[in-house]
């Protein structure tokens, strides 16, 4: 038999700040540096418009922010979880995704990220950067770019109404004291 070695630890470990959040009962992690804003879904959806793109059922709303369009992605639908749409929205930096989640568990740090085992060989390879062990629990670390593929973005763009029809939409703001915070 071949002994199974523990992972080699090389020098002092660097840490990465992460947000632990839930969609339904499922716990996920996301690098805090990839989250631009955390808002209540209500405040973001207040300025949202309906959209229906074939094959992209996880997106039902979008908001325009200046020249940019953000698509509200149901985390439950994306991960095929039996849960209603979340009440918090993570606006993900450098993407066109606002991810709807249920709750933030806590902010913490991870020091090790293990690649997703190669046995996982389907869409999850786009979904996750890897797995991390926190407090004897394994948590998948999501990939911010993995919520909308290029193909899905093309379908969504094709389904967008002309900009002028949404030109009077107010940019989502915190003018009602609703929960919202900017990160980084």
């Amino acid at each position: 038999m071949t002994p199974m070695q523990a992972p080699v630890k090389s020098g002092p470990l660097r840490s990465e700040q992460i947000i632990l959040f839930r969609i339904g009962e499922q716990l996920f992690a996301l690098s805090s540096s990839s989250v631009q804003e955390v808002r209540s879904a209500d405040s973001l959806c207040g300025g949202a418009y309906e959209i229906s793109a074939p094959g992209v059922d996880k997106v039902r709303q979008f908001v325009r922010r200046g020249a940019n369009t953000l698509f509200l992605v149901s985390g439950a639908a994306h991960f095929d979880l039996c849960a209603p749409d979340g009440i918090l929205a993570f606006v993900l930096r450098n993407t066109r995704t606002a991810l709807l989640v249920d709750s933030i568990e806590k902010m913490t740090a991870m020091t090790r990220l293990q690649a997703l085992p190669l046995s996982f060989c389907h869409e999850e390879r786009q979904w996750y950067r890897g797995l991390t062990a926190l407090d004897q629990t394994v948590v998948p670390v999501v990939r911010p770019e993995g919520f909308l593929s290029d193909e899905e973005l093309m379908k969504l763009d094709a389904a967008l109404p002309p900009p002028e029809s949404a030109s009077e939409e107010p940019e989502a703001q915190d003018d009602n004291g609703d929960f919202g915070m900017e990160l980084n």
Binding site: S33, L81, N94, L113, L118, S119, C121
Partner: protein, 169 residues
Amino acid sequence: MTFSSDLELKSFVLLRLGERRFAVAADGTAELVAPSRVFRFPHKTAKIEGVILRRGRIVPVCDIAERLIGKYLTSRRFYLIALRHYGQRTEWVALPVTGECELISAELTPASASDEPHVAGWLSHGGDVIEVLNLDALTPGSNEFLPYPAAQNEVGARPAHLGKAEASP
């Protein structure tokens, strides 16, 4: 000189799935571990139940019983930690098994063209003819290059494609 003297004895681990026994090459196994918590998260790969934590590593749990004996294991199970090859790379996988395993030496009869891909060969032990399993054909996983580079163990070493938004603190 007898025919059997030309054959080489090799070590195998006998594992039990329900009432049937199978074998895997001993040099492709690490240990038999007691049942532990399986961590589950969303994914789309059939036959992978989740992952277990073992010696600081995260090991996928792959149920091979359904394919080999036609049903999932319901009785108390152990996990046989075995190597799975993905092209040039290897990783550990945890195989749920029924009860204890046994280390034996036996002669391997190579598989024939008519055998299924998951059969690496056959051996005779205790009056039984036992399938030697080819885990690479039995468990999921692609041998092709994957679209994203593998994550690094230390979070400071980040893949370049992640860009500024993912830069380490």
